[in-house]
């Protein structure tokens, strides 16, 4: 099995380098992105195929804290901080509000301690990313257990005068359903993992495995979803900001 791909954030370059060196030495994970600064970190994570984050919490001189970064990225996270006791309540909050794995390790994360803490965290992340189903409330039926593989894409519903808070979820084997007042972050917390579902546009999340092709001139991706009678072809726009990410997920045609 390939090693878990992680991204590392620490405001101190010395400690960041030490952590990256130690992580490599464990041979349990692969470091695919790192930074000392939250904004740059988020950019790097978005354009990488990281599956989990290792975050310092207190980032000196930064506009965000590690907790903010975790809230924003909605990915499995291992907090590595010298002040875990101070933040333990916030870490717990973060943990209870979501299906996404959260763990913490106090600094300094020596090689020995990483070797002891990582296997369990990796196992949690793998269970989460291998999660095959999600429980969702539709407009007229609650608590439906849905196979993630069957979801083709989710789009924001257009309401009067712009986008509404509702979503439409499209499947490969049944007609679409409506999700009332559910945000994409809430969907991600429920288990629509960022790893499987990519964002080609702010109003869409698409199952990466269901993408048939990407037209790099019209900047649209093609998927097939069920309309109640049979499968129909659907073109989904790819915004400029997300093109690089989409291209890295699929082969251009």
């Amino acid at each position: 099995m390939s090693r878990l791909k992680v991204a590392v954030l620490d405001d101190s370059k010395l400690l960041l380098k030490e952590l990256v060196t130690n992580l490599k030495a464990t041979d349990l994970v692969q470091v695919v992105a790192y930074s000392t600064q939250s904004e740059e970190f988020i950019e790097k994570v978005k354009s990488s195929d990281a599956e989990a984050l290792l975050l310092d919490i207190d980032l000196a001189g930064d506009s965000m804290s590690g907790l903010d970064v975790a809230d924003y990225l909605k990915m499995p996270v291992l907090f590595v901080s010298g002040k875990t006791p101070k933040y333990v309540h916030q870490i717990e909050e973060h943990n209870y509000n979501s299906e996404i794995p959260v763990d913490h390790l106090s600094k300094p994360a020596s090689l020995d301690r990483l070797k002891r803490a990582l296997p369990k965290f990796i196992q949690q992340v793998e269970q989460y990313t291998r999660q095959t189903s999600i429980r969702l409330d539709f407009a007229n039926s609650k608590g439906n257990l849905i196979n993630l593989d069957d979801i083709v894409y989710v789009e924001t519903e257009q309401g009067k005068g712009g986008e509404s808070g509702n979503k439409r979820i499209h499947f490969r084997n049944r007609p679409f359903e409506r999700l009332i007042d559910l945000s994409f972050p809430a969907l991600e917390r429920a288990g629509l993992s960022k790893h499987k579902f990519i964002q080609p546009h702010k109003s869409y999340r698409v199952n990466a495995e269901r993408i048939l092709s990407y037209d790099s001139t019209s900047h649209k991706i093609e998927v097939k979803s069920h309309n109640g009678i049979g499968q129909i072809s659907v073109q989904i726009p790819v915004s400029e900001n997300y093109r690089k990410l989409v291209r890295s997920n699929i082969k251009s045609t």
Binding site: S12, L14, E18, V20, K83, K86, K107, P108, S110, L111
Partner: protein, 217 residues
Amino acid sequence: MYRKLTKERKSKDQLSAEKTKLETENLLLQAKHLQFRLQPHTLNNVLASLKAVASKLNRGMDSLSDTLDYILYKGDEHYVSVESELEFINRYLDLNDLFLTEIDSVKLNDSEVDKASKFYKDQCIPHLITAYFLENAFKHGDINHPEFLEIKVLLSNAVFEMRVVNRIKTFNIRAKSGGIGQKNMKSRLDLLLPDRYDMQFSCNETEYHSMLKINLI
């Protein structure tokens, strides 16, 4: 009446003097208090950094000890295997990485080393023949550059090859002809492998390139 008034004024003056005194004392106390109100967590950060430095030091001593072992005790044999020399390169890079601030600024690519080749384990290349290239890169290279050093080692069809590219500080373009280290290495190669090697050095404004190629038969 007048006496009463003066008395009251006196006590008022006294009170106001006492008030000023107390206020001053209060300010001094506040200053004293603030003087020692260090943020304890900043010391915690210092502690974390110190531990990182200590662990670097530990790794440094391990790498140095391995490097010294290789230099001192393998030296008698003149020739070593490609495997051993590669191990030396790795240790030497680990050791020097401790002094670099950037992460991953040193890249070693040994993907084209044929580990099944008989020369991988045979004693076929001069001991420490790669050292000059490594030393040179760390001595004259721009070690703080995020892509400071790239080393590629190849072994295939009885040819050993090493290519080194290191960034240089633009103002540091010096004589292209090498110093005493290069002369010594060339003399060693002439003695041990006459007519079986090739060595090239070149440099542009930002990079220094060096190459060593040895025919193993």
